[in-house]
């Protein structure tokens, strides 16, 4: 059995860690996953579920589903692009919920570690933009009256609200 050496140019220490979970996310776990003695900065994002209002009343929770093998491949490609743009990045970690998520809970936790903060902060913004545009995860809002609607990210090129940065629209009724 032969061992492979890492490709030229790849950071031999840079880890990309992804997890889809049906359970409560742990911010501590994500932070620990990107920790590194050479890093002066950990840039962290937590996406939480808002208590939105609609004609159907309050949002009582969200249902997430995903095309799991393609989530992995899209996140891997996203991280490749981030590392090409910011070669000093150390580690990248994304944990995303699946299944039922109550209002107030975290739906996504993402962290990037870097020697200095600027690269990490910029890479984190790019990571989230890329996640919303390309990673096959879907979110359905469920309301007090048990009606539900699938949301769309404006970042997604085939969404009806594409290009409108502050909008999420509901498809179908």
């Amino acid at each position: 059995m032969s061992s492979q050496s890492p490709p030229l140019g790849a950071s031999k220490k840079g880890r990309d860690i992804f997890k889809l979970s049906h359970h409560r996310l742990s911010v501590e776990d994500v932070v620990a996953a990107v920790g590194s003695a050479s890093c002066g900065a950990i840039s962290l994002f937590i996406g939480t579920t808002r208590e939105d209002q609609s004609e159907s009343g309050k949002v009582i929770g969200l249902e997430y589903e995903a095309y799991e093998p393609m989530v992995q491949s899209e996140l891997a490609e996203l991280c490749r692009r981030l590392r090409a743009r910011w070669p000093d990045l150390a580690h990248i970690c994304v944990h995303h919920r699946l299944g039922w998520v109550r209002v107030g809970e975290a739906s996504v936790v993402a962290a990037v570690s870097s020697p200095h903060r600027h690269d990490g902060q910029r890479a984190l913004v790019c990571l989230l933009d890329g996640l919303k545009a390309n990673v096959p995860v879907w979110k359905k809002e469920v309301y007090e009256d048990r009606k539900a609607s699938w949301k769309e990210n404006a970042e997604c090129a085939w969404a009806s609200c594409h290009g409108n940065h502050d909008a999420q629209t509901m498809i179908g009724q």
């Binding site: 095309y67 995303h96 990673v135 699938w150 949301k151 997604c156």
Partner: protein, 88 residues
């Protein structure tokens, strides 16, 4: 129809079609517009809501629905119906 693919439905498309997964016999090569037309033939309700706001994913690569490019499909390939994304 010389190739059998596995079609996966997600989110709104699963609700509209009533299925999560099905096998489909298709021609290969086939362009994505013709492939989409086949799926609409199986599940006309997909048209009502998704038309213009859906892409496919073939072997985990996004494919726009148009007549531009012929896809080469192999037995067992996964073809996913991908409504607008809302992760993150």
């Amino acid at each position: 129809f010389n190739t059998r693919v596995c079609v996966l439905y997600f989110a709104k498309s699963a609700e509209l079609s009533g299925v999560r997964e099905e096998l489909l016999q298709v021609d290969t090569p086939i362009n994505s517009q013709d492939l989409w037309t086949r799926l609409l033939g199986q599940h006309p309700r997909l048209l009502r809501v998704l038309q213009g706001h859906v892409v496919l994913a073939v072997r985990h690569q996004y494919v726009a629905i148009d007549d531009q490019e012929a896809l080469t499909l192999r037995d067992g390939d996964e073809v996913a119906v991908v409504p607008p994304l809302s992760g993150g």
